[in-house]
């Protein structure tokens, strides 16, 4: 079971001081894609996902949290990315943006079942559904672990998964089992 909190891990360095050695860059290569995917899932915009990815690694090097295991470390990255994405999506500045600024994913209603079509279908779901779908189907977390990452109850996550799955099947034409 994952137990984590963004502010929970002990800090080895003072906040604000960034000490990056050559070896520390490995963590970027290890988690950049996962963080980027999580950020893209929450925001639905590649530019925002890039900004969030950058912010997440900046936060990591500022706080230098220590982790019990690699799974704990990955979950921390995903949690921070999801939370930052939520904060960005809920910000007044983001709400004022036009739809044209956010259109980066192909239309899921085009009928195509290619990977980009599936991705578009996932990203067209409400934010809480698509985060649950991404973490469950791609990252392989259980509903309980997703609840800890997203800060929601396990029952709520299970409901989001169920409804998201139903909507996704509808969007993809019901051919996905």
């Amino acid at each position: 079971m994952l137990t984590m909190n963004e502010s929970e891990p002990s800090r080895r360095h003072d906040i604000g001081a960034i000490h990056v050695s050559g070896g520390s860059y490995a963590v970027i290569d290890r988690y950049k894609d996962a963080v980027y995917r999580a950020a893209l899932t929450v925001t639905g915009c590649r530019a925002d996902a890039e900004d969030i990815t950058q912010e997440v690694f900046l936060k990591y090097f500022q706080t230098r949290p220590s982790f019990r295991s690699e799974a704990h470390e990955k979950a921390w990255f995903l949690r921070v990315a999801v939370n930052m994405g939520k904060n960005l999506v809920r910000s007044p500045w983001h709400r004022r943006r036009t739809d044209a600024d956010l259109t980066v994913i192909p239309d899921p209603g085009s009928g195509e079942t290619s990977s980009s079509g599936v991705l578009a279908a996932v990203l067209s779901l409400p934010e809480k559904y698509r985060v649950a779908i991404y973490l469950y189907y791609y990252e392989g977390y259980t509903a309980r672990e997703i609840a800890e990452i997203t800060g929601r109850s396990e029952a709520a996550v299970a409901q989001h998964l169920s409804r998201g799955r139903a909507k996704l099947r509808k969007l993809l034409g019901g051919d996905a089992s």
Partner: protein, 109 residues
Amino acid sequence: MSLRDEIRRAYDDVKAPDELTERIKRDLYQKDISDDAEQETFLVEEAPRPAVGRYLAFIAASVMLCAGFGYAAWRGMQDNVNELNPRSSVPIETVAVTEETTETTAPAE
């Protein structure tokens, strides 16, 4: 193909751009350098030591000045009390007359 496989395949194509990785590393490197520079500046430019001596001298001078004013005011009040004591039963004119009388009525040998 199951829904899981389709989602996996879709997300497998999503990767962080290479230029983003380079940007993150460059940003962190620059931050690291700037933080080091700030730290050096902080070490070189030590915070000025508080001027305790001057502070104490200022406090002492203020206290002495206040004490002087206070003493002068107290003395002035005391003088006023003596001169304008309403409970004094001896009129000033009487005192003067008495002194003159004393002088004039000195016993003659």
